[in-house]
């Protein structure tokens, strides 16, 4: 029954095929299938499945659709998995299906994006949205010297993890860098071309723009591409517009190397995936996570109440080559 090929992971080449079928199975649910961010996370998930000898299913709808995501979780509960790790598209909407899971003794954690008002046991993230938002804000403020106009670029106007970061960043700037003005927030709807055109239009709209902050994976490279082009075309000077926010190292490598981007915040989604499976495995064994615990392939984690953080890195041209994703 292994038609799933690419994504079903009955621990290929594992030591005991039998062990896998009698042991636990987890459903790890990203926001959607397809985006490379999630593909990177999938690697960690698979690796953890292999290392721990558990079956993991990594699947999601092809778009970030909350209803379809919940349907899929429901289907996997029917399949009697032992644990689910969900990156919810709508943090409120998953509440009923989570309590349903709990009533069936299925362990539930969220990862990458939290649903705090639900029955989930833990949230696994690189840092909290508030921390990240503040980190982005501080980074851009520093780069532009504490004053000037910046614009925010998000992947979605309705995704909780995006809006939470934006709110935190805005509040942080107001409190700590009152001279930094956030002129607007634009959304790419997860479409790279739109992100790129948004960046172009922003550069054109605000001649005195000093910074662009990317809140999701596709934004920073699009911003960098647009800035680089504007510089090459002689429309703006090199270094006039700074870029901060989140980035996937492999996507911004060339921009870091050619100086279009100075530094970015990053984290490895595969570590999030690994930690998620690891945590579910502990929970289903009746154990628990501890603050400062070492997780293989991930490193030490911070546990703060029901939040597990794997930590972030600052990406610069000196270390960008060290990241394997």
């Amino acid at each position: 029954s292994n038609q799933g090929g690419a994504t079903e992971t009955p621990s290929e080449g594992d030591t005991g095929g039998d062990a896998a079928s009698t042991s636990k199975s987890f459903f790890i649910n990203p926001k959607s299938i397809g985006p490379a961010y999630w593909a990177a996370a999938e690697k960690g998930v698979k690796q953890a499945g292999e290392d721990l000898g558990v079956e993991v299913v990594f699947n999601a709808p092809s778009t970030t659709d909350s209803a379809q995501q919940i349907n899929m979780i429901q289907d996997m509960l029917t399949r009697q998995v032992n644990g689910v790790g969900v990156a919810p598209n709508d943090p409120e909407a998953v509440a009923p299906v989570f309590s349903n899971a709990l009533s069936q003794d299925v362990q539930v954690v969220t990862w990458d994006s939290d649903a705090p008002d639900t029955d989930r046991k833990y949230y696994i993230g690189a840092a909290t949205d508030a921390e990240l938002g503040e980190q982005f804000a501080e980074m851009i403020a520093n780069q532009i010297g504490g004053s000037g106009k910046v614009a925010f670029m998000v992947a979605s106007l309705s995704a909780q993890n995006q809006t939470a970061k934006v709110d935190a960043a805005t509040a942080y700037l107001e409190a700590n860098h009152p001279d930094v003005e956030v002129v607007t927030t634009v959304s790419s709807d997860d479409d790279q071309q739109k992100a790129y055109e948004n960046a172009q239009n922003l550069i054109s709209t605000y001649p005195d723009l000093k910074g662009l902050v990317g809140f999701a994976g596709a934004e920073a490279p699009a911003a960098a591409q647009a800035v680089e082009e504007a510089v090459n075309a002689g429309n703006i000077e090199q270094g006039k517009i700074k870029i901060a926010g989140f980035a996937v190292p492999s996507l911004v490598k060339e921009y870091l190397e050619n100086g279009t981007i100075e530094e970015m915040v990053t984290w490895d989604p595969s570590k999030l995936g690994y930690t998620t499976v690891y945590t579910l495995n502990l929970l289903t064994d009746g154990e628990d996570v501890e603050d400062g615990m070492e997780i293989p392939n991930v490193g030490s984690i911070k546990v703060n109440g029901d939040i597990i953080l794997t930590g972030t890195d600052v990406l610069t041209k000196d270390n960008v080559a060290d990241f394997g994703f």
Partner: protein, 320 residues
């Protein structure tokens, strides 16, 4: 002069001009040459795809698969250039791939007689799956600098994307309005049965149109890849079919086929691009962008309809 207003494209051209003026009034940055250049660059991908879509719509068909074709070609071309293949060779291979996708659509539509919307709905899903499978779910990125030619290069002083779109539009505008093949497209869209009786091969013509459409989409895909710099097969170009269809229809084409021109389509594309750019430039609240876009679209449709009924009212007949 009076003739100009009778043309089918007149309302959309006027509308575009009016909107242009409004944006210029609201935002001083809108009229800057840089920004105008920007708008032109930004419309090149949708523009190139619209040319193929116009021909498909002239047949009375519709092509929902263009976004997925774009993803397939962009992925293939991106992987090829990253594998060290010369960008121009890669682009040519991409066009072959696009042509094959088009031929696949054409085969089902022209030979197996499956309605366009059904075939292309299916291939929209299928091609997208193929694109992701080819990419292995990975981002295709970090292209060599030489690949930048397709977004930043210039041919006789004109940015390459604009030059490609302009060439495509003029070439197909000419083919559609001045050659036997082009008039066949209109004839078949106007009355398929009559076209058959006049001895035209509707199959062959349709097949060729789908292949051209695939190739045009692949040129767009190359520009896309070069402009955006990174391709995510699962999302690249998804939803672009709506923008493109909207542009063609707003440009005066009829979904029932036979009616529409390259000039109108070009203005439709321009209008769509201008709205997108203008709404950012006028600093409209981000939450209002979609609503305003939709409203302007509907306005454009209304204006087109008014024009059409005015034309119909002038129909010769029994004391209308």
């Amino acid at each position: 002069m009076a003739n100009i207003f009778k043309r089918r494209e007149a309302p959309i051209i006027l509308f575009t001009i009016v909107l242009f003026c409004i944006f210029s009034l609201i935002s001083s940055n809108f009229l800057k040459p840089d920004n105008l250049g920007l708008i032109l660059t930004q419309i090149t991908t949708t523009g190139l795809i619209s040319i193929g879509m116009l021909m498909v719509i002239l047949f009375g068909g519709i092509d929902l698969s263009v976004g997925s074709v774009l993803a397939v070609v962009a992925t293939v071309v991106g992987m090829l250039v990253n594998a060290g293949i010369n960008p121009f060779v890669a682009a040519l291979i991409g066009m072959v791939v696009g042509a094959i996708c088009g031929a696949f659509n054409g085969l089902f539509i022209a030979w197996f007689n499956i309605p366009e919307i059904i075939t292309t709905l299916a291939t929209m899903f299928i091609f997208r799956g193929i694109a992701v499978a080819i990419s292995g779910g990975e981002w295709v990125t970090n292209f060599p600098d030489s690949f930048n030619f397709f977004s930043q290069g210039k041919i006789i002083g004109i940015p390459v994307p604009i030059a490609l779109f302009a060439t495509g539009a003029i070439m197909f505008g000419y083919i559609l309005s001045q050659t036997r093949f082009g008039r066949r497209v209109y004839a078949i869209g106007g009355n398929k049965e009559a076209a058959k009786l006049a001895g035209m091969s509707t199959r062959k013509t349709k097949f060729l149109v789908y292949i051209s459409s695939g190739m045009l989409t692949s040129v767009a895909a190359v520009i896309y890849a070069s402009q955006v710099g990174s391709i995510q097969a699962s999302t690249a170009g998804s939803g672009i079919e709506f923008t493109v269809i909207a542009a063609v229809l707003v440009g005066g084409a009829s979904i029932f086929g036979g009616v529409g021109t390259m000039l109108g389509t070009a203005f439709g594309v321009l209008l769509m691009g201008m709205i997108k750019n203008g709404l950012v430039l006028t600093q409209a609240s981000v939450y209002w962008v979609d609503a305003t876009t939709g409203f302007i679209l509907i306005l454009a449709i209304i204006i087109n309809t008014v024009q059409r009924s005015r034309n119909l009212a002038s129909r010769e007949g029994d004391l209308v």
